[in-house]
Symmetry: C2
DNA sequence: TTTTCATATGATTAATATTTCATATGATGG
DNA sequence: CCATCATATGAAATATTAATCATATGAAAA
């Protein structure tokens, strides 16, 4: 019996609809990392990162591997690279100034938007 | 000054991370519809559909056109078709039974999951 | 086999997003 | 222009999701 599209699809997109998880994805784009490393680089609580890694893992956006005491997470590039490319293409074509896809009501107010966020700084 | 990837990207995915909006997307995949039609087919309040259409419109996932008294919304297929294909490919490869991408904690409990939901029925 | 480093888990609290309801605005035919 | 159909808007009420904190579990070196 086939899964409802709306349900699986909702899980797919909602897992990506989170600044912390997007920051993790961006970080893992460069290289695999263990949990402690990720939490240090993103300057967030270990347990918070762990919770979010699990969400990404459930959808197989990332894979994990135990190496000695540490568990390394890596990006599922097969899915994530085309997905991020599609996003980039769309946003450059349809939201060139950011104004089209963003308005004052939709600004992110969470921690990762703050100045301490490496991604926020990296992509200004 | 380039927009922060995390912020625009968050808007992109969070706009799609909603069962009502996914249902609208699915509906518009077949043909353009006006607001009243959409709300009747999905059996939801007109104002609720209207709010959600605006979210989709802000991200240019849909386009709109006034025809006489009615406003028709149509899908941005350039973006949405490859995006949905990518989702389908991923979910079939990595979440074949639904079990990998879904667990008991992540079941949707909203209206559109209920038996009256045409999408839910259509994709069982 | 115990200590330490590393990660995961669960429940509570805090933050955000969505729906709803009442009403305003828009378009157009009469 | 007035009536009416059609859609949009805003604020309040609900519902959902995320972060936090305390603690449990796991892996391996000593």
């Amino acid at each position: 019996m086939k899964q409802s599209l709306s349900e699986t699809c909702y899980k797919f997109f909602s897992t990506l609809a989170n600044p912390t998880r997007l920051a993790i994805v961006e970080l893992l784009r460069d290289s695999p990392r263990n949990v402690t490393e990720i939490s240090q680089i993103l300057n967030q609580e270990q347990s918070m990162i762990s919770h979010n890694l699990q969400r990404l893992d459930e959808c197989r956006f990332i894979f994990s591997e135990q190496r000695k005491k540490k568990r390394f997470y890596s990006l599922n590039k097969e899915t994530m690279e085309p997905l991020l490319k599609l996003f980039t293409y769309h946003s450059e074509k349809y939201c060139p100034t950011g104004g089209k896809c963003l308005n004052k009501n939709n600004l992110q107010k969470r921690k990762l938007r703050e100045a301490s966020d490496p991604l926020y700084l990296a992509h200004q």
